[in-house]
Symmetry: C2
Subunit: 236 residues, 2 copies
């Protein structure tokens, strides 16, 4: 097997780096802002190509993509959401239930495209390079595909919302997904009227952003907090 | 609680979109190309800030970041890798074991910075918005942080390799991580001599890239394959 020639690992230009960070910092979980305008096939394809270029353990590429545009299918999925959401509300302390119920947590019926991203754990046989000791690595690969797609969607001017309030078996039933396949993410995708300047749960007082420097330790869990230049850069 | 003003969900310029896709398409899992040059604190901080801006279920931000530069700690982690790797090789069919052993699967001792990204499942209490029915969502959030960091590293000219061949308890022991905390990703980070033009496992004949169009179905698992413009765009 011939060795491929290496490409330069060049640093991007300032403008290119700024574009990537812009996608990262302005990406939002979109629930209430979907417009009915259709998503062009070429545009949807670019998102899927971005997802397909995610890293995957053992180059397994365990993902599949179920593109949902049919209104009847969306209604089945929405029913599965509603059942789980009603259960979920009761799990919170009483003084949080009102706020929980006031939040719009999905745009299943509003978004023109829904996308279920699944993981086929058997796609490359029982023994997968890199999955031998951490069996969840194929699920993690599938999540990398979701995040690639999410950032690409931001750059394309589309909003994405990840809906996770489902009993997995109810979501499988709504989409005809076999028991051996894991539905990892259910995404609502579409053009949007705008993007919030920050996370909606922060704006609504549900939970605040943590200070990054407090989440970093040096050389081990009980190691020192960063100081000096690293600390200053994390606090900036 | 006042509603924040919305920002325009504008499509990025062509140059900005190209920069994001460049990061996505040229990102590699780096194992053998690390240079000993130190990674500047400001640069490392930018990667961590990118990770910290990942989506997280219920705005939980369950991640912590253990920055490993100490040679003795790296050696302990490397020992954990070697033990698991020896076990792993024997799991493959005999005719694959030689190729498996010939692959360099980590750069723990070569990369100037190692980074363990963990998930604290208790960070926001037992009931988390969006995690009520899919308990693994906090692990998935942590993976989104890893993918943000990986793309930022590419734009900064750094290589990243994800090492997953560890018994999780051995990795915990090497880094003093409590039993309740999940080590999600162990990353090797550094400047690199170059980037491969495609996945190393593909170049070495381990496994080929799948055709994206075959991984897409419409309106359900048993739905039709895409045709028309979507199919053409996926095949392009």
């Amino acid at each position: 097997m011939e060795e491929a020639e290496m490409l330069p690992a060049d640093r991007f230009s300032d403008a290119e780096r700024a574009a990537l960070y812009r996608a990262i910092f302005t990406r939002r979980d979109t629930r209430g802002e979907f417009l009915p305008d259709p998503v062009a096939d070429e545009l949807l394809a670019r998102l899927l190509v971005a997802a397909h270029h995610a890293p995957s353990v053992g180059f397994m590429q365990p993902w599949s993509f179920l593109v949902v545009r049919d209104a009847a299918v969306k209604r089945r999925v929405h029913d599965a959401f509603r059942a789980a959401d009603a259960e979920a509300a009761l799990m919170f302390p009483e003084d949080r239930q009102g706020l929980y119920r006031s939040l719009k947590l999905q745009g299943i019926l509003d978004a023109p495209v829904n996308l279920c991203v699944t993981c086929d754990r058997d796609r490359a046989g029982p023994v997968v390079l890199g999955r031998t000791h951490m069996p969840e690595m194929d699920l993690y690969s599938t999540v990398c595909a979701v995040q690639n797609l999410w950032l690409a969607a931001r750059a394309e001017g589309l909003g994405v919302g990840w809906v996770s309030i489902f009993r997995p078996d109810a979501l499988r039933a709504a989409l005809g997904i076999p028991e051996t396949i894991v539905p990892v993410a259910y995404l609502c995708i579409g053009h949007v009227s705008g993007l919030r300047p920050g996370p909606e749960l922060e704006a609504k007082g549900w939970r605040q952003r943590l200070k990054l420097a407090e989440l970093v330790r040096l050389d081990g869990w009980d190691g020192p907090a960063p100081d000096g230049d690293l600390r200053a850069a994390l606090d900036a």
